[in-house]
């Protein structure tokens, strides 16, 4: 089974990478780019679990390891059974 996890900085929390990238694009002349936020895109492969189990595991590992709940939000989706 395959899942995709998205980890993004919480709204309101400074995301320094995106700011620097945007500035850099601006300097290159891409003034149409008004905002950039960089997060993580994590591909997870799971074996021998039901969809429900997979969801439970994903929820758990996001909380415990993949995202830092103090400053980040996460969501996930199962893309292949």
């Amino acid at each position: 089974m395959k899942a995709h996890v998205y980890v993004t900085m919480r709204r309101g929390v400074l995301e320094p990478q995106g700011r620097a990238v945007q500035k850099s694009l601006e300097n290159l002349g891409y003034t149409q780019v008004k905002g950039v936020r960089i997060g993580k895109f994590i591909e997870v492969e799971l074996d021998g679990v039901s969809r429900q189990e997979a969801e439970n595991i994903l929820e758990e590992i996001c909380r415990k390891l993949l995202a830092n709940p103090v400053i980040e939000d996460f969501r996930f989706e199962i893309v292949e059974e």
């Binding site: 320094p16 990478q17 620097a20 990238v21 850099s24 300097n27 290159l28 960089i38």
Partner: protein, 230 residues
């Protein structure tokens, strides 16, 4: 003889390189801001270490888009010696002047430490004065120095004698134990096909004066000065 130290936003070994070139080697040395394009007045070009653009997104990714890269590329084409150290190496790789890629250390930790390097070729301006096989003691300080290349590129590098340094034991053995960051085949530095552009993760500018513990780094600067002097 004139040397350039390229300065990008976030470069931070620029002063150290300047210090060695100017005060240790006695060269006429200038800082050049990344928005400049013309480097034709220089004989040696140094892209120093640091965290250009915070190393955000990818090391060297934003720096490679600076105007100065055009100048560096142009002078490199003329055959002038160019060296990228640490973040400078990452920039030259991103900018396509050197082959491969640098990814996170296998320990996922920043590492600041002296390491040993085996000189793999004397056939570059920066190693011309160092006999092949000689072991140098030079520090590293990086988070993303894990050299990567796809198999065919790796073969090409070996076939063309483009690997300049490999991490090794103090006795010169290239072992996994002596590999600080997980680099493929312990590669610590490479050169381009034309051999005048060299990139390396270790910092020769940090060990060019006796009081700093090792003077092995000085050999690279002496080599290039002799090379330019002919």
């Amino acid at each position: 003889m004139k040397a350039a130290v390229c300065v990008f936003p976030g470069s931070n070994c620029d002063h150290d390189c300047y210090h060695v070139l100017k005060h240790v080697m006695g060269l006429d040395t200038e800082f050049v801001w990344h928005r400049e394009r013309d480097l034709s007045r220089f004989d040696i070009i140094v892209v120093p270490g640091g965290f250009t653009y915070g190393d955000y997104l990818r090391t060297g990714a934003m720096a490679k888009l600076s105007p100065i890269m055009e100048g560096i590329t142009e002078e490199a084409k003329k055959g002038k010696p160019v060296i990228g150290i640490c973040n400078g190496f990452q920039i030259l790789i991103e900018g396509g002047l050197l082959p491969g890629a640098l990814i996170a250390n296998r320990s996922l930790k920043f590492i600041c430490s002296y390491v040993y390097l085996r000189t793999e070729t004397s056939n570059t301006p920066f190693t011309a004065g160092i006999e092949k096989g000689r072991v140098l003691k030079i520090p590293i300080a990086h988070y993303q120095g894990n050299y990567f290349a796809h198999p065919d590129l790796l073969k090409e590098l070996n076939d063309n004698d483009q690997v300049v340094f490999r991490y090794c034991s103090p006795e010169g053995e290239v072992t996994d134990e002596a590999n600080p960051n997980g680099s493929l085949e312990n590669i610590a530095g490479v050169c381009n096909r034309e051999r005048n552009v060299v990139g390396m993760m270790p910092h020769p500018e940090r060990c060019a004066e006796r009081e700093l513990g090792s003077v092995d780094g000085r050999l690279l600067f002496e080599s290039v000065v002799n090379y330019v002097a002919g």
